[in-house]
């Protein structure tokens, strides 16, 4: 191989600097969570677990965490069911106008989230659904379903349709053929899509913040709104727990599905 084709040390240095830049805010948050002082210094002046204790015994934070979790699980579940069914029909061209339908399903990715958020705020106010958890749940299905459909379509396009036909010939009906043949083959893509949906729901502020009832909050919305009243190390502690959870999910997802191929 030509030596000129290999990356030089300048490029290597710049690249590593950019990688470090990407991790810096993460490291800072973790440092802040263990810091004794309310403001950050390098090196940190004393380490403490105090802020974790504060956060893990705070009813507000626990309630927000619970809301975030059920919302993410329920909307991922809804998206997987609705998204896989639709993707299967779209992929097999069962319905006329498949291409137009696909763009409609993907449209929530293109529309700025804040626009959907305010549109739903007005809509739910008009229809009397404002403040209901069901409305929030459906909204999260809408913003997460494109990821599931995209992953399902990618997974389905790699499956040879004659495999399912073979199952039919051997006496399986449509649903059985799908369950025993196609579903296991698209499962890795589906897991990746579901994870994306879960993370997207867990991350969302621009839609959620407009639809929560006064007594409700999710973790990101709570952090988002409380920052306006000042920065406290409790936020850093919650954030650190979220960082740890994300890291764990990434490692597990990589083990299960080779997640990075789907990003």
């Amino acid at each position: 191989m030509n030596a000129e084709g290999r990356p030089g040390w300048v490029l290597a240095t710049v690249s590593m600097a950019v990688i470090v830049f990407l991790q810096i805010p993460v490291l800072v948050v973790v440092l802040a969570a263990f810091s004794k002082t309310a403001y950050l210094t390098i090196p940190p002046q004393g380490l403490t677990l105090h802020w974790f204790e504060v956060v893990l015994t705070d009813a507000d934070y626990l309630g927000a965490a619970w809301t975030s979790l059920w919302l993410a699980l329920a909307s991922t579940g809804g998206s997987l069911v609705l998204g896989l069914a639709a993707a299967y029909a779209l992929h097999r061209k069962f319905v006329p106008g498949s291409e137009m339908l696909t763009s409609l399903v993907m449209a929530p990715l293109v529309l700025p989230s804040v626009v959907l958020g305010v549109a739903l705020l007005q809509y739910y106010t008009l229809t009397g659904m404002r403040g209901y958890s069901a409305g929030l749940w459906i909204a999260h299905v809408v913003i997460t379903v494109p990821y599931v459909v995209r992953a399902s379509l990618a997974g389905l396009s790699a499956v040879d349709p004659s495999l399912e036909d073979a199952a039919r010939v051997l006496g399986a009906d449509g649903p059985t053929g799908f369950r025993l043949v196609t579903l296991p083959l698209v499962k890795p893509g589906l897991v990746a899509g579901g994870l994306f949906a879960f993370i997207t729901s867990l991350d969302n502020v621009p839609v959620t913040v407009f639809l929560l009832s006064a007594s409700q909050s999710t973790l990101p919305v709570k952090i988002f709104t409380s920052v306006e009243h000042g920065v406290d190390p409790g936020i850093a502690a919650v954030s650190t727990l979220l960082i740890a959870a994300t890291g764990l999910v990434l490692v597990l997802a990589e083990r299960w599905t080779g997640f990075h191929k789907y990003v």
Binding site: M1, N2, E4, G5, P7, S15, V18, I19, F21, L22, Q23, I24, V26, V29, Y39, T41, I42, L82, Y88, A89, R92, F94, V95, L101, L104, A107, V110, L111, P112, V114, V115, L116, V118, A119, Y123, I138, V141, V142, V145, P161, S162, R168, G174, I199, D203, V209, F210, P220, I223, F224, V227, V231, S239, L242, I243, G247, V249, E254, H260, V263
Partner: protein
């Protein structure tokens, strides 16, 4: 081939379709009449129709400033992401598979992390009593903290960090797709490194650069969370102004008009870029 069965297909698609029509299309369309309603401060929304909510975005100095700031931010963040992302993407594309995997993970990790958490990290860094200012003061380099939040600096830094992974992940496969032989052929013809970059590498990756830039630009001008957290309630962009119109000042018609303007901007940009990309791929 399996015979397409229409009723089954319709039954599979219609639940999702129903949800999207009722909870996506209808709400957005119903906001259109709202954006054409007159708003009188003190009284609220009246029954009269008006275009003023749209025209003021372009005629009113305050609104114009916010729109221009939003676009400046979009261009600035896109440029920074390109300048930082291209070298990293190039290095990743040419690295050994092991190294590429490790770096990909390090790029994906901050991207998957909660947006609010990442923005909070930048607050901890850039605030007046944040890490950077404390460090500079301790080292005796400055006497008083430098203002890095609630202004363009903070937003540029924070948002470039947030959207950089998207740019890198768009560029890596494009750079990987360049056949080594083409570059080596140029070197054999005794072209210098910069020459090869300008005449071979850069043109061949242009579609990836455009796609990545459009993605970052659109994400930046639509972003709410980071601009609000790092810009505060006073340094506004379009998305944060919409947020305030709906939740703080309750001037819904203004907010709705701004929301449609922002949507139109993103659609026009995506439309133009996809036409350019189509033309490029057609001529290649």
């Amino acid at each position: 081939m399996s015979t397409p069965s229409k009723p089954a297909g319709v039954a599979l698609v219609s639940p999702l379709l129903l949800v999207l029509v009722l909870v996506f299309a209808a709400p957005v369309l119903l906001m259109l009449p709202l954006s054409l309603r007159e708003y009188v401060p003190g009284t609220g929304i009246t029954d009269r129709w008006t275009l003023a909510n749209y025209t003021q975005i372009f005629t009113d100095d305050y609104y114009r400033e916010v729109v221009v700031r939003t676009l400046e931010l979009g261009f600035g963040v896109t440029l920074i992401c390109l300048l930082l992302g291209y070298p990293l993407a190039y290095y990743m594309a040419r690295a050994t598979p092991r190294m590429r995997f490790a770096l990909t993970m390090l790029v994906i990790f901050p991207m998957l992390l909660n947006l609010v958490v990442r923005s909070f990290g930048w607050i901890a860094l850039l605030a007046n009593r944040g890490l950077v200012n404390n460090l500079l003061v301790d080292m005796g380099l400055i006497e008083r903290p430098i203002k890095m939040m609630f202004n363009l600096t903070g937003l540029l830094l924070g948002m470039s960090h947030i959207f950089l992974p998207f740019m890198v992940l768009m560029l890596v496969p494009v750079i990987q797709a360049i056949p080594r032989d083409v570059q080596n052929a140029a070197y054999t013809l005794s072209a210098s490194r910069p020459r090869v970059f300008w005449s071979v590498t850069l043109p061949m990756t242009a579609p990836g650069i455009l796609s990545g830039s459009i993605l970052v630009f659109v994400l930046t001008i639509s972003a709410l969370v980071t601009p609000r957290m790092l810009g505060g309630p006073t340094y506004k962009v379009m998305a944060t102004l919409i947020y305030d119109d709906f939740l703080q000042t309750l001037e819904w018609p203004n907010g709705a008009a701004l929301a449609f303007t922002l949507t139109a901007m993103t659609l026009v940009i995506i439309g133009i870029s996809s036409r350019i990309l189509k033309r490029w791929s057609g001529s290649a």
